[in-house]
Subunit: 145 residues, 4 copies
């Protein structure tokens, strides 16, 4: 089994330095853990993510999924800021309620040029998925040895 | 050809009332026009959309595409706040530079229960797409006569 | 947990009657099992699925995933021939070798109007996925009570 | 504007040699034309593509879209058999009737490592799309100079 080369704290420190805009408007995205070909993130319930009826916006879930895949890949291959998203696909399954969201990312393939992952998002404390995402990231030529 | 039932100003007024959170952190998303099975939106270049190297974030483009499809559908079927996104798929093609983005949405199918649309996003004044999206929205049973 | 209303044999008999074209060119698609919100299918290694280098064609995997989702949904809701695919999305992860493929389908949401599922396809006897798919099916109004 | 480096006949001859399995069960897929960043294909109406009610199967349309993108890319970059599909996404919009299908492919990005394209499929002689697809292909390192 592939083992990550960065810890949760390593990835967090890297993001703080490279992507301070992640926290624009309030710190709501958190890395819970990273593991072999996986990562878990959390998004706090926050005013700027709300939509009519008290549900959470699609874009806030899309940002969470995108970040979860990025974190999972970074943890495996090390600090490569230039990894870029090439494809993201989302199915919105249920309307999330007024609570934090948990995103579980699993890397399906970690190739030399491309990594593919899936993400399941659910409300904290619940088991049904509210959103399922898959994504492909392009990895710079010199990133993985 | 299908004709829209709301003008650009109608849709804008509806969004102002129903989705004030769209403008959280600064008003950057604008409706340029609506037409038969189509809509054009604009996203201003703004600090909160930036990523390292001066490019614009994936989530800000995803939010723009989602909104463009919502606006295009609303304009055709009238003010139905409960229309929900069921699927969104994105291909990120090029890194956008430091300028506003223009999103052109075209509805591919406007059914009784589902609407499907595609969106091409490009930097203002340029022709190459930076992002291409397709999306499906579920329409409430009583919305279209 | 949702329980299926058709057995594996029920679904097979239904497909034999309604979709004899599935077996055009030779019987290669088989239902292994159906379960709660799930199904497992198998595609035999066969000359008509081969591509240069001895790998299996993308379209043969796409047909397998589409059928796996259809079987999984049918088993849960009963014999509704008119269920239609509205969206399918595939990530091709590795080139499958010269062996049968196994497709495991899991339904992520079984709603009244839409069902969403994911499928993992791997070579028989292997654990790495060769293809991952997600799909959405529209269910006729009178199908689920 | 990018110009193709292979003619329609060049691509056809290449496919005949490299992918004879395309025609398993009867020759139904045809290249109509190739152009700058584009290609048009045709799929004959044939017994093996039919589904109940006289409509055409999803998998036959998926195979057509996959082939259309492959042909469009080949025509631009030359005979590179190893180009591989990494992602395909389909929206099924309307049920096609008992006629041939026409697929129009447009390449959205032709990069050194990845090409992204969209395909619109319609029944011959009609204008409404029955299926819309987007796809990503990985190009071997030594293919494009």
């Amino acid at each position: 089994m592939h083992q990550p080369v960065m810890t949760r704290d390593d990835v967090e420190a890297f993001l703080e330095q490279e992507f301070p805009q992640l926290h624009y408007g309030g710190r709501t995205y958190h890395i819970e853990s990273v593991g072999p070909l996986s990562a878990q993130l959390r998004m706090d319930y926050h005013e700027r993510h709300i939509r009519p009826g008290g549900t959470l916006s699609g874009p806030s879930m899309m940002a969470l999924a995108d970040l979860a895949i990025y974190v999972a890949i970074l943890a495996q291959i090390g600090p490569v800021a230039l990894t870029v998203t090439t494809n993201l696909s989302f199915n919105f399954l249920r309307k999330p309620g007024k609570r934090a969201l948990i995103a579980d990312c699993r890397i399906l393939k970690l190739g030399r040029r491309l990594a593919v992952a899936e993400v399941g998002i659910r409300s904290e404390g619940m088991s049904d998925l509210v959103c399922h995402a898959t994504g492909t990231y392009s990895i710079p030529s010199n990133a993985v040895s």
